[in-house]
């Protein structure tokens, strides 16, 4: 029953077969590479911790999507905002939140980023303007109207990055959000992480017209499609969109990528073939970036090994922190529910 997945034709933004031309400092490039490696490692370890029952609930990883994650989030400035969805471990890490607080959240502990209340789908870091992961498909999208509006209202030079899956684009909330973002010329960049599937459903089974970036026009936005396995291509597309956003033109970016694992830990992903997965793994975003960098003499094997070791250490330390952190106090069950609730009434 499984349909052959058509690979969408990409704009020629891929740097794979071009001589890489980097205008960035080596330091910056290493930092991007490190962040991608850190996310990969974090997800690997998280998955393992899940199988060891240290983590529960739904658990969706960014395996395979690291270029899209890092390419869209790392260019942001401190004042910029992010509104994300449940597949967001990598998003908050790319934003700079210490993985130990993220891991503590996955472990459901008091010093997790949501104090153990949120878990995998509901990571949050206000200090980094990371406004959370949300679990209702497309439900996060209308929030971005308000965040973008708020920047304009307060007269601040802030951009909002709205992240969503491609499956979410069939939902009505996506339409209302994008129409209003376009209508009000809000400084919002919507990135559709098109990993080709929403659970077991291909984009060809969920969208009458699967070329999602083309919807930009209908929403009064600039539309672009980018090879989401190429971090530098994503980054450039994002930087262009940021320039436009600051001038009051929102963008809709469709990043073509792939999730290596099932939809969540619970999904064996039998709806797709091993060959399909393998063909995507062959253009692994981390390996590909490594090849680009090393072709341009911007990274050595030793440097890479050092990075790998350092992220391994960091993630192990995160696990240690999480595992030794305290559980929330059950007497605090009603904490955070209301601000200043009135006394003596039934809430």
């Amino acid at each position: 029953m499984v349909k052959e997945i058509e690979r969408t034709e990409l704009e020629p933004t891929s740097t794979e077969n071009r001589p890489a031309e980097f205008h960035e400092s080596k330091e910056e490039l290493h930092s991007l590479f490190r962040t991608m490696s850190l996310i990969r490692r974090f997800e690997d370890t998280g998955w393992e911790m899940y199988t060891r029952a240290k983590i529960g609930g739904y658990f969706h990883t960014n395996h395979g999507e690291e270029a899209t994650v890092v390419g869209t989030i790392c260019p942001l400035r401190p004042q910029d905002w992010i509104v994300s969805f449940y597949r967001e471990h990598g998003h908050i890490i790319a934003r700079g939140t210490d993985p130990k607080y993220v891991m503590a959240e996955l472990f459901g502990r008091e010093h997790g980023v949501a104090h153990g209340r949120g878990g995998s789908m509901h990571l949050f870091d206000y200090s980094r303007h990371f406004l959370g992961g949300y679990g209702i498909v497309a439900g996060q999208m209308p929030l971005a109207i308000g965040v973008g509006w708020s920047s304009k209202y307060r007269g601040q030079d802030e951009i909002t990055l709205l992240l969503t899956g491609e499956g979410a684009m069939a939902n009505g909330a996506s339409h209302e959000a994008l129409n209003m973002i376009g209508l009000y010329h809000l400084p919002v960049i919507t990135v559709v992480v098109n990993n080709l599937y929403g659970m077991g459903t291909t984009v060809h089974e969920s969208a009458a017209n699967p070329e999602i970036w083309k919807r930009g026009e209908m929403y009064g936005m600039h539309g672009a499609q980018v090879d989401g396995m190429d971090v530098m291509a994503v980054r450039r597309t994002m930087q262009d969109a940021m320039k436009r956003a600051s001038n009051g033109q929102p963008s809709l970016i469709e990043a073509m990528t792939y999730r290596y694992r099932g939809h969540s830990v619970a999904d064996a992903a039998r709806y797709r073939s091993t060959e399909e997965v393998q063909s995507w793994r062959q253009q692994d975003p981390i390996e590909r970036f490594y090849r680009q960098l090393s072709k341009a003499d911007l990274i050595t094997e030793e440097e890479r090994n050092a990075i790998d070791e350092s992220v391994e250490k960091q993630v192990n330390a995160a696990v240690e922190f999480a595992d030794s952190d305290e559980h929330p106090d059950p007497n605090g069950l009603f904490d955070h529910l209301y601000v200043d609730p009135p006394a003596g009434v039934s809430l």
Partner: protein
């Protein structure tokens, strides 16, 4: 004290809070040039401009999601949902986002916002435009649900709601905008979560809210002539629910009648009745009686519409019966 309409009271509350706090802004369908479907926001766009009085497309998810996102980043949005009947297409934003964000992010975020919306039935507006759905939101921890019955309460509670840091559904009533009442001058504020005794009495407590407060008061007048002394408890908010005040009343009168628009089963009256039997069981001389709308989608025909709505005569009759008068 000046006598003004409900509409004016609400309008003044919005205006005063907008003057008081630059972060307060309004959004909703037709609230600008059109002046609001029920004209509550009339004139505000001229005074505050289209950025602070934003007329939106017909997109209730967009409106309530926008309000939530703005609230998370420092603003204090007051959204108008044209009537509560349209809230379903956007309620996910209110229930799954606005009400849960503070808790599910462990207190790291806040969603101070107000969603104003008229509820209730009238004027042959029929099945899809004559509903009382506030009880759904009262079910949701994280929400407040406020529902005033007089211009004074409307003004005072709306001001409190706008200053409050929690997400609030502010329920108005479709047919009460022209009702008049005295409203104290100055910065009149009514605390959220306190029921109000609208009339004191010793024989029977009628516990109600919003428009039905007035039907209760009318019934109380009729019953007074027969020597039955009715206490009218106006809940003013369904969440928080002021159990204390209503129980104190019932302990005094020993009889409770719950009255509301909307449907009977699983309606707001069920919770009130359940609370009363829980907390005043030994004081009750009679089971708690509930009077509500009939359990049908509201029909168009005037004859049927009348038959489907709560009636003052029924309140009087049931009250008599509870007191063994009949």
């Amino acid at each position: 004290m000046p006598v003004i309409t409900m509409r004016e009271a609400l309008h003044d509350a919005l205006r005063e809070e907008m003057i008081r706090d630059q972060n307060v802004f309004l959004l909703g369908e037709e609230i600008g040039r059109f002046g609001g479907s029920y004209k509550v926001t009339e004139g505000l766009i001229d005074e505050f401009g289209p950025e602070r009085v934003l007329s939106t497309p017909i997109a209730e998810s967009g409106i309530m999601g926008m309000a939530t996102g703005a609230a998370m980043t420092g603003l204090r949005p007051v959204a108008e949902i044209m009537t509560i009947n349209f809230i379903m297409v956007g309620m996910d934003q209110l229930v799954n986002n606005a009400a849960k964000i503070p808790y599910m992010f462990g207190g790291e975020a806040r969603t101070p916002l107000v969603v104003r919306t008229p509820s209730g039935a009238a004027h042959q507006l029929t099945a899809q435009h004559s509903q009382s759905l506030e009880v759904w939101f009262a079910y949701v921890p994280g929400m407040y649900v406020v529902a005033p019955s007089t211009p004074a309460d409307a003004k005072g509670l709306l001001k409190s709601s706008i200053r409050n840091d929690n997400p609030i559904l502010f329920v108005e009533n479709l047919v009460m905008y022209n009702e008049k009442g005295e409203v104290p001058e100055g910065d009149h504020v009514v605390p959220i979560g306190k029921a109000d005794i609208k009339r004191e009495g010793g024989d029977l407590s009628i516990i109600t809210y919003s428009r039905m407060v007035h039907m209760a008061l009318e019934a109380a007048d009729v019953l007074a002539e027969e020597g039955i002394s009715v206490e009218v408890v106006d809940l003013r908010s369904l969440r928080p629910l002021d159990v204390e005040t209503m129980i104190a009343s019932v302990k005094k009168t020993n009889r409770a009648l719950v009255l509301h628009e909307g449907w009977y089963k699983y309606g707001a009256g069920a919770e009130v009745a359940a609370q009363i039997q829980e907390h005043a069981f030994d004081y009750l001389d009679h089971p708690v009686v509930r009077i509500s709308g009939q359990e049908v989608p509201m029909p168009y025909s005037t004859v049927l519409e009348r038959a489907a709505q709560p009636r003052m005569e029924d309140v009087v009759e049931r009250a008599r019966f509870m007191l063994g008068r009949k």
